[in-house]
C-alpha cells in the first residue's frame, strides 16, 4: 500500500529515489575527494576504504529497508496512534516495521552494492572459497546487528518518545564510523564499538582479517569470526528490550 501511495506522486518518487541514491553517494564522494589529495588514510588504500564503505552500507541498507520505519514509533507514542495498532491481531512490531514502508530505501543498497562491487577486484586479497563466502556472511550478520540496534532504539522510544535522533547516532553514526578504517579512531572509541555496542563485528573485524591488516586492539584471532554469535545475541537482547518497552507503554489517552 505504501509502495503504491509513494508511486502516486511520480515526479517526487523519482526525485526521492535519486536523492536517496545520492545521499549515500555523498559520503563516498567525500572519501574520493579526500583520496584526490592523499594515497592512504590510516594505512588503508581507496579500494580498502571502499570495501569497508560498501559492506557497512549494504548491511545498514538491508536493516533500514526492513526495519527503518520503526524509528517512527516515538511519533506514534506521542500522538496516541499506537493504540490502533495494539487492537489489530498482528504483532505490533510487524505493523510498525511495515508502516510507511519505503521502496526508495533501495537507493542506499544499490549505491553501496555498486561501491562494494567496484572495490572487490581491486583488493589485495588472495580469493579462496572461504574468503569469498566471508563477504556475504559479513553483510548478513552486519544487517542483523544493525536491525538489532534499530529495534533497541525503537524500544527506547517507549520511554523517551522524542529521542529518535539517539538511534540515528548508533545506526547512521555507526555506519559513518565503519566506513573508515579503525586505525583512524582513538583506541577508546574502537573499544566502545567492539565491546559496548559491538558494531565492529559488522565489518571491521572480519574485514581486517580478510585484508590482512592487524587488529588495533590486538584481540585473539578467533574473535574475527564471532560475527554470527554477536548478531544472534544482539537480536535476542533487542527482542527482549522491545517486549519490555511494549509492556511499559502507557497510552497518552488522546
Amino acid at each position: 500500500m505504501w509502495v503504491r501511495s509513494a508511486l502516486a506522486y511520480r515526479t517526487s518518487f523519482v526525485m526521492m529515489a535519486v536523492g536517496n541514491f545520492a545521499a549515500n553517494g555523498l559520503d563516498f564522494v567525500a572519501i574520493m575527494l579526500m583520496f584526490s589529495r592523499i594515497d592512504a588514510l590510516g594505512g588503508f588504500s581507496l579500494p580498502e576504504v571502499a570495501f569497508l564503505y560498501g559492506t557497512s552500507g549494504v548491511s545498514l541498507g538491508l536493516a533500514d529497508l526492513l526495519l527503518g520505519s520503526v524509528e517512527g514509533l516515538g511519533r506514534r507514542v506521542r500522538d496516541g496512534t499506537l493504540d490502533t495498532l495494539l487492537l489489530r491481531p498482528v504483532p505490533v512490531f510487524a505493523q510498525i516495521a511495515a508502516d510507511r514502508f519505503a521502496l526508495r530505501r533501495l537507493g542506499r543498497i544499490t549505491q553501496a552494492v555498486l561501491v562494494l562491487g567496484w572495490s572487490l577486484p581491486l583488493l589485495p586479497v588472495d580469493w579462496t572459497v572461504g574468503r569469498v563466502l566471508m563477504v556475504p556472511l559479513m553483510v548478513v550478520c552486519g544487517a542483523a546487528i544493525f536491525a538489532a540496534v534499530f529495534t533497541a532504539g525503537a524500544a527506547f522510544q517507549f520511554w523517551a518518545q522524542d529521542a529518535a535522533e539517539v538511534q540515528n547516532s548508533f545506526t547512521y553514526g555507526g555506519n559513518a564510523m565503519l566506513q573508515y578504517p579503525p586505525t583512524v579512531f582513538a583506541r577508546e572509541l574502537v573499544r566502545g564499538v567492539t565491546f559496548l555496542v559491538p558494531l565492529a563485528f559488522v565489518n571491521w573485524l572480519p574485514a581486517l582479517r580478510l585484508l590482512g591488516h592487524p587488529d588495533p586492539l590486538g584481540l585473539p584471532g578467533w574473535v574475527d569470526f564471532m560475527g554470527p554469535v554477536v548478531a544472534a545475541l544482539m537480536c535476542a537482547g533487542a527482542g527482549l528490550a522491545w517486549r519490555l518497552g511494549l509492556r511499559a507503554y502507557r497510552s497518552t489517552g488522546s
Partner: protein
C-alpha cells in the same frame, strides 16, 4: 512588531522539544567525534590541506556540527510544515491573514535558528573544544563577526528552503525536491568536506555558489581563515546572495499565490 512576536513564539516552541534537543546534541556530538578523527587522519597525511592547519580543520568540524540544526543544513527546519500546508491546501487560510507570507516564515525561522544555536550549537562546540585542540578566536570582535555571518547564513538558507517549499505549488508533493536541495546544501556548504579542500575548479565553483554562504563563510570567519578584507568580502558575498534569493522568493510567491484556487464548501 508582529514578526518579533512570531520569532519569539517560534523560539519558545522549539524550546519545548527538550528531549529532542538533548537527543540532537548527542547525535551532533557523536558525528563530531567521528568526523574529527577522520580529519585528523587526513591532515596527518597532508598537513595544511586547503590552507587549514589541524586545529583549524578540527574547529571547522565542530562549527559544522553546531550549525547543522541552526542553519538547517540538511533542509527542512520547519519549512516542511509550509510545504505540507501548500499540499493540503491550508495555505489558502494563510493567504487571507493580514501578514506577509515570506516575512512570517522568515520570522519563524529566525526564532527557530536562535533556539537551535543555543540548544544544539553551544554544547557540541564546548565538548569538541574539551576533547580536541581547536583554533577558536580569543577576541570578542571575531566572535561577533562570526555571529553576524551565521545570521546571514541562516538568511540564505531560509531563502533557499522557502523557494523549495513554494515549488510545492507546482509539484504538489515536494518531498523529493526538498531531499535533493538538502543534499546540495550538505555538499556545497562544506558540511561533507570543507570547500577549500575540494580539488581545482570544483572548489572554485563551489565557493561562489549560495550554499557557501551557509556554512563555509561563517566557519572560515571563526577559524581565522578570513580576516580583514577577506572577512568583509565574505559578509558582502553572504548579504548579496541573501538579498537576491529573498527577492526571487517574492517573485515566485506572487506567481504562486495567483495560482491558488479556493474551493468553497
Amino acid at each position: 512588531m508582529w514578526y518579533v512576536a512570531v520569532a519569539a513564539g517560534s523560539f519558545r516552541r522549539y524550546a519545548t522539544y527538550r528531549i529532542a534537543t538533548v537527543a540532537g546534541v548527542f547525535t551532533n556530538t557523536v558525528f563530531g567525534f567521528i568526523v574529527a578523527y577522520t580529519y585528523i587522519a587526513l591532515w596527518d597525511e597532508r598537513p595544511h590541506l586547503g590552507g587549514y592547519d589541524q586545529a583549524q580543520a578540527l574547529a571547522f568540524v565542530w562549527t559544522a556540527q553546531a550549525l547543522l540544526a541552526t542553519a538547517a543544513l540538511m533542509g527542512g527546519g520547519g519549512l516542511d510544515e509550509l510545504q505540507e500546508r501548500i499540499r493540503t491546501g491550508d495555505i489558502a487560510v494563510d493567504l487571507y491573514r493580514p501578514a506577509d507570507l515570506q516575512l512570517w516564515w522568515l520570522a519563524a525561522d529566525l526564532g527557530r535558528a536562535g533556539l537551535q544555536l543555543i540548544g544544539r550549537g553551544v554544547v557540541p562546540m564546548a565538548v569538541g573544544a574539551l576533547a580536541f585542540p581547536l583554533a577558536l578566536p580569543g577576541d570578542p570582535l571575531t566572535w561577533g563577526c562570526f555571529l553576524l555571518s551565521v545570521l546571514f547564513g541562516v538568511l540564505v538558507s531560509f531563502a533557499l528552503r522557502y523557494l523549495v517549499a513554494l515549488a510545492s505549488f507546482w509539484l504538489l508533493d515536494g518531498a523529493g525536491l526538498a531531499l535533493i536541495s538538502g543534499l546540495a546544501c550538505m555538499f556545497f556548504s562544506g558540511m561533507v568536506l570543507p570547500l577549500r579542500v575540494f580539488p581545482g575548479a570544483l572548489g572554485e565553483v563551489a565557493q561562489v555558489l549560495p550554499w557557501a554562504a551557509v556554512l563555509q563563510v561563517p566557519a572560515d570567519v571563526l577559524v581565522g581563515a578570513r580576516s580583514g578584507g577577506a572577512l568583509w568580502r565574505g559578509l558582502v558575498f553572504q548579504a548579496a546572495w541573501g538579498v537576491a534569493l529573498l527577492a526571487l522568493g517574492r517573485l515566485v510567491q506572487s506567481a504562486a499565490t495567483r495560482k491558488v484556487v479556493v474551493h468553497g464548501g
